[in-house]
Amino acid sequence: MSTHAGGYSADPRVRPVEWLPWIVALAGFFLLPEYLSLGARILIYVLYALSLDLIVGYAGIITLGHSAYFGLGAYVAGILAAKAGISDPMAQLAAAAAAGALLGMVTGAIILRTKGLTLLMLTLAITSVLLEIANKASSLTGGADGLSGVVVAPILGLFRFDLYGKTAYLYCLVVLLIGWWSVRKLIYSPFGTSLTGVRENSLRMHAIGAPVYWRLVLVYTLSATIAGIAGGLITQTNQFVGLNVLSFESAGELLVMLILGGVGRIYGAFVGPVVYLIAQDLLAKQFPEYWYLGIGTMLVLVVMFARGGILGILDSAIARLRRKA
């Protein structure tokens, strides 16, 4: 099954089917060379969605402001590259990660004292504040015009970013692989299991002596770190940063992708962005004015008929086949 719940009797070994996304990603690299820039964008969004799944799907923290950490990572990498002359991609990525972590820790420590709607509003507020700062500090961020002149040196001094996006694609794939491995490890660990406990019943987690608040701050920080890395990647592959990375729409869009794929399943974060971004690409070409209608219809159908997302549909289909067999 495609549900990955962790727990004290879950086998943590990687199942054969879990290699499928990587095979597909590599096949895409060789078979669809003209779509590599879309491909890299998808890989980055998978990483970004994975960071969101960690807090929404596993820890049960609902947020509409995850773009704060993604956007901060994007701007930190961009400002280093365009203004501070630091062109090493590893240094840019590390800085983006550190910035995401720091903001995640500070904001998490404040907002995770609240719950439900209050929490949701606070996550929105953080993103809005950051967006306004990026808009006003135009000498640093380029404001509404965006930040161009992002210079990215060859990776490890060896692999130059090429025009066709081959290096960018493989680079994003490697970073995603590391991110996936870390998130998966976390979910199967005792810490991950305790997060599931908080999601299922935080009252009881308190009653068994768990420091619930600190656990949430920690996972929020880790998630913000990964979102920061994803933001750094988007800057490096686009060589440009626009205000849209911080927008509420971007955070909402991410949540839609995750719901579409399936929440709390790891691989929902893979399926969602793939389907969403490809649909967006196709629909935008066919119906440049109405493409959001297609996305909206897809989301309504999923929410009404398939609460587990696309992977949930797959799960129940497999279960039905087994019962017949």
Binding site: A5, G6, G7, Y8, S9, A10, D11, P12, K185, L186, Y188, S189, P190, F191, G192, T193, S194, T196, G197, E200, N201, L203, R204, M205, H206, A207, I208, G209, A210, P211, R215
Partner: protein
């Protein structure tokens, strides 16, 4: 020797409403003590103050001679105070084993670990399995709570608390919602609990109370009306008036 758990003049009021009025209470080591009283007597408020969910308006709470009045829930648990809930507070979509393992992992300090997988902590899993076996739940270990009959869910409720190896255990209506035919199963389990745990049970099922408890405290309108052995309480006229009478004729 100090009592396992003790309160001095514990009060709680919400505005003009007093729900706990100078409660002096003593739970001896290894006690089998019941707290009874009509609806709205303040029993659950009392438990919530003991566990740290509610802060008392005044008074003190001592656990094994240590003042815990100002401590939070988690720190009271770490010092050996465990509880169950009147309405199931379980991890509904997790397995029975994981429900118990979560508590065992917290007690053992394993819960914050990130590097090894949870299933690579066999000590936690084995302790959870042994605990379930002692409650007769061994065969249900891999079931999700959602798929478990209600009576068994009540047992898991107790199993989670036992996973904390408490010195003091507060059982908030362990038989609530269980058909009387099955409540003997709960009693059987309660009888097998380790002797050294001091147990305070809050319960409406009078059969269960009189069979299990060796001391009974009657709470009425936030005050201790009387405390004594089951015999003394059974003979007490005031208790009959406010509580037992109501039940027998009702």
């Amino acid at each position: 020797m100090s009592a396992a758990l003790e309160t001095y003049a514990l009060c709680k009021s919400f505005g003009a409403l007093t729900v706990a009025d100078k409660i002096d209470f003593r739970l001896e080591a290894g006690a089998r003590h019941a707290l009874i009283g009509p609806n709205g007597a303040g029993k659950t408020t009392f438990v919530n103050m003991l566990t740290g969910v509610l802060a008392p308006s005044s008074g003190r709470i001592m656990l094994a001679g240590e003042d815990i009045t100002a401590l939070g829930q988690a720190n009271r648990v770490k010092r050996g105070l465990g509880r169950t809930f009147q309405i199931n507070a379980l991890f509904r979509r997790l397995s029975v084993l994981d429900n118990v393992a979560l508590a065992v992992a917290e007690r053992r300090g394993v819960a914050p670990h990130m590097l090894r997988a949870a299933s690579q902590h066999p000590d936690v899993r084995n302790e959870g399995k042994e605990l379930l076996a002692t409650l007769g739940l061994a065969d249900d270990a891999m079931q999700r709570i959602l798929d478990l009959p209600y009576g068994k869910q009540r047992l898991v409720e107790i199993a989670i608390a036992l996973g904390l190896k408490p010195r003091v255990l507060l059982l908030d209506e362990p038989a609530a919602g269980v058909p009387s035919l099955e409540s003997h199963r709960i009693l059987e389990v309660l009888d097998t609990l380790p002797k050294e745990i001091a147990i305070l049970i809050i319960e409406h099922d009078m059969d269960l109370v009189f069979r299990f408890a060796r001391r009974i405290t009657v709470l009425v309108q936030g005050e201790v009306l009387v405390e004594g052995t089951p015999d003394e309480i059974g003979r007490d006229k005031r208790v009959h008036q406010v509580y037992l009478g109501e039940q027998r004729h009702g």
